[in-house]
Amino acid sequence: MNIKITTLALLATTGMAGAAAAQTSFEYWYGLSGDLGNVVQETCNRFNASQSEYEIVCVGKDGYEAAVQNTIAAFRANQHPTIVQSFDAGTADLMLSGEFYPVQQMMADYDIEIDWSNYFPGISNYYAAATGELFSMPFNSSTPVYYYNEDMLAAAGIEEAPLTWEGFAEALVAIKDSGVDCPYAYAPSTWIDLEQFSMAHNIPVASNDNGYAGLDSELLFNTTQHVQHMENIQSWINDGYAHIRTAQSGLSARDSFVQGECAIFFSSIADHNTVGKIAPEGLNWEVQMIPVYEGFERHNTVVGGASLWVLSGKTEEEYRGAAAYLSFLATPESEEFWASNTGYIPVTQTGYDALIDKGFYDAAPYAGREIAIRSLTYTAPTNLTRGIRLGGFIQIRSEWTNEVGAALAGQKTMQEALDTAVERGNVILDRFARTYAGKTFP
C-alpha cells in the first residue's frame, strides 16, 4: 500500500487562478517592461476576451534577462510557465537543451493552420532549425535604421540621406561645417555595429556560418571590414565628427538627437515610437537604412527583439492554450494592434500588406517604418545573413563592448581591442562547446 504523506501543502498554494470551470489556465512570462510591458498585457487581455476556453496569465519580469533567468530557476523546480519570451542572444542554451516544443510542430500537432512561409525570411531564419522549421514564434521584431534630422542635413546641402558609409562620412563633414557641433551621436552597440553591420555586408561574425553549422565556431570579426569600420568611427570621434552619447553618460544618443543636439543616431526601428512621442514640436526627422561600404553588395539585415518559446514539461491542455494564443497573435488584427501601439514591425508579409493597404505607413506617426521592412527583406538570406547562433553570446557581446570602450578611451588601438575581444570570445565559445559536448544545434 502506498500512501503519500504531504505535509503543510495547505499553507501555500501556487497563485494560479483558481478557476473551477473547464477553463485551462496557463502562464506566459515576458520580459518587456514599462509601457511596452503594458501593451503585452493588453494582448493577453484581448486573447482572454476573445474566447472562453483558455485563460492566459501573463507575468512581466522586468527585463529579458530576468524573464529567462526566472524561467530557468522555475524550470529546475518544475514550476515554469508554458510560454516564455526570450531575446535573441539568450536562445542558444535553450536550443541545445531541447527543453522546448517547436512551434511549427506544435501547430501541426494541433491542426492549426499557419502559413509559415508568410513570415519574413529575415525574421524566421533567426528562429529556425537548419531544416527551416521554426522553433519559436517571432513576436517583437525590429531591425536597425538610422535617424536623421532633416533640417540639419538640408542645411548642409545633403539631398538624400546617404546609403554608403563613404557618403555618410562626407555628410558628417558637411554637417559639421554647416555649424552643427555634433553630427553623429554614437553609442557603441554590438547589435548594430557588429552583427547587423556584418549582415548587411554579407561578411561573417564567426565561422561555421555564424555558428549555425556546429559548436566548434570561432570568431572572425577582427579580420573583416568590421575592423576598418570601427577604426573609421574612432577617427570620426577623434576629429569631432561624432560624439559618444550613452545612457550611462547621462544623455543617450536618442535623447541628444531628440533635443536637437546631434543630427544622426543609430537605433532599432522600435525607437521610432519613442522618438515620435518625446520629440518636441518642430523637429523634422526621418529614418534611413544603415549604410554599406562601397564595393560590398547590400544584403538583408536581421531581426532583433525577442520571440516566444513554448517549454517542455506541460500538459496537453496548456499546450493547446498556448497554441491558441500564438495563433491569435498571428492574426492581422493582432499585428496591427501591436504595430500601432509600439515601434515594432509586423512579422508577416500579409500583416505588412494589410497595413499598407490601410494606409498605415502613409502618415505620421507610422510613416518611415516601412524602411525597416525594406532593410529586412533587401535580399533573401544567405548562409551568413540568417542570424547568429553562438553560445555565451551575451558574454561575447560584453567583451566586445569592453574592448571597444578601452580603444575609444585611447588605451589601445582598435585592432588590438578587437583582437583581444576575439581571443576572449573564443575562450567563451570553447567553454560553451565543452559544456554541451556531443550536442549540436537542432
Binding site: G90, L94, Q248, S249, L251, N402
Partner: protein, 293 residues
C-alpha cells in the same frame, strides 16, 4: 574576556535551533548546490553537467581581467568604508553636541537609509552624468574634465561616492546612538579637567565607541563587497572598459546574464573566501582591542 555563564546547554541548543534550521534550508542547501556547480560545467536548463574539477578555478584565477576586478573591488570596499565611516563619525560627533537644531539634523541624516537601492542609483545618475547632470557645470568650465564614461578612475570615484551615501546614513544611526549612551558625567568630568571639545572627542568618546565601531567596520566592509551590485548596475554597468566591474557585479553578469552558472559559482566561492578571510582578520586582530565593558 568572559565570565558568567548559564549551565544548561540543552536550552542553548533549543534557542539556536530555529535560526540554524532556517539558514540550513535557505542558505546552506542552495549554496552547496552552487558550490557543486563550481566544479562542473553546468548547463543552465538542466540536462547534465561535466565534472572538471578545479579547471574553473584555474581559468578564473588565471584571467588578468579577473584580477582587475578583484583590485577594483578592494579599492571600492576600502574607500567606501573609510569615506562612509569617517563622514558618519564626524557628523555623529558634531550632532552629539546637541546644539540648536539638533533634532532636525538627526532626522535629516537618518532617513536616507530608507531609500531603495534602485532609486538611489537613478537619482545619482542625475547628479553625476557629465552631459546633463549637476556635474555637467564642471564640464562647462573645463570641457572634458569630468567624464566617468571614458575615465575609469572617475567612474570608480563616482561609484564609491554613491555606494557610501547610504552607508553614511546607516553608520550615523549607530554612531550617534553609541555616543548618546556615554554618560554625561564622564564628559563633564573631562570638561572640568580642562579638556577642550576636540580633546574630549579624542580621549573619551572615541575609545568608548569601540564596540560599535567594530560592528560598523565589519558590516561596512562585508556590505561593500556583497551588496554593491545595484549601484553599479544603475550607474555604470561595469564600465568603462571594466573599470567598475566589481567582483559581485561580474558574478551577476556572467551568471545571471551570461548563463555561465559554473563560472559564476566559481567566482562566488572566491569572493566568499576573500570576505571570510577579511572578516576573520578583523575579528582576530581588531576585536582584541575592543573593550566591551
Amino acid at each position: 574576556m568572559r565570565r558568567a555563564y548559564f549551565k544548561n546547554n540543552w536550552i542553548a541548543a533549543l534557542v539556536v535551533a530555529p535560526q540554524l534550521l532556517i539558514i540550513f534550508v535557505f542558505f546552506y542547501w542552495p549554496a552547496s548546490q552552487a558550490v557543486y556547480w563550481a566544479f562542473t560545467l553546468e548547463q543552465p536548463w538542466g540536462g547534465g553537467n561535466t565534472w572538471i574539477g578545479l579547471d574553473n578555478f584555474r581559468q578564473v584565477l588565471g584571467d588578468p581581467v579577473y584580477w582587475q576586478s578583484v583590485t577594483a573591488s578592494i579599492i571600492f570596499a576600502l574607500s567606501s568604508t573609510v569615506l562612509a565611516m569617517g563622514m558618519a563619525l564626524i557628523l555623529a560627533l558634531f550632532a552629539d553636541r546637541q546644539l540648536k537644531g539638533y533634532k532636525i539634523f538627526r532626522i535629516g541624516l537618518i532617513w536616507p537609509y530608507a531609500i531603495a537601492a534602485p532609486a538611489v542609483g537613478l537619482a545619482f545618475r542625475f547628479v553625476f552624468n557629465p552631459n546633463a547632470g549637476l556635474l555637467s557645470f564642471v564640464n562647462k568650465a573645463m570641457p572634458g574634465l569630468w567624464d566617468p564614461t571614458l575615465n575609469g578612475n572617475q567612474a570608480l570615484i563616482m561609484v564609491i561616492v554613491a555606494g557610501s551615501w547610504k552607508l553614511i546614513s546607516y553608520n550615523f544611526i549607530f554612531f550617534l546612538a553609541a555616543l548618546q549612551s556615554i554618560p554625561r558625567s564622564l564628559v563633564e568630568a573631562g570638561a572640568m579637567d580642562g579638556a577642550g571639545v576636540l580633546r574630549r572627542m579624542r580621549d573619551i568618546q572615541l575609545p568608548l565607541l569601540a564596540p560599535t565601531f567594530f560592528f560598523i567596520l565589519v558590516i561596512n566592509i562585508t556590505d561593500s563587497f556583497t551588496d554593491s551590485f545595484g549601484i553599479i548596475d544603475t550607474l555604470t554597468g561595469g564600465g568603462p572598459a571594466r573599470a567598475t566591474d566589481l567582483m559581485v557585479y561580474k558574478i551577476y553578469s556572467d551568471g545571471f546574464r551570461g548563463f555561465d552558472y559554473s563560472g559564476a559559482a566559481t567566482q562566488s566561492i572566491i569572493l566568499m573566501v576573500l570576505v571570510i578571510a577579511l572578516t576573520f582578520v578583523q575579528f582576530r586582530y581588531i576585536e582584541r582591542r575592543v573593550h566591551y565593558t
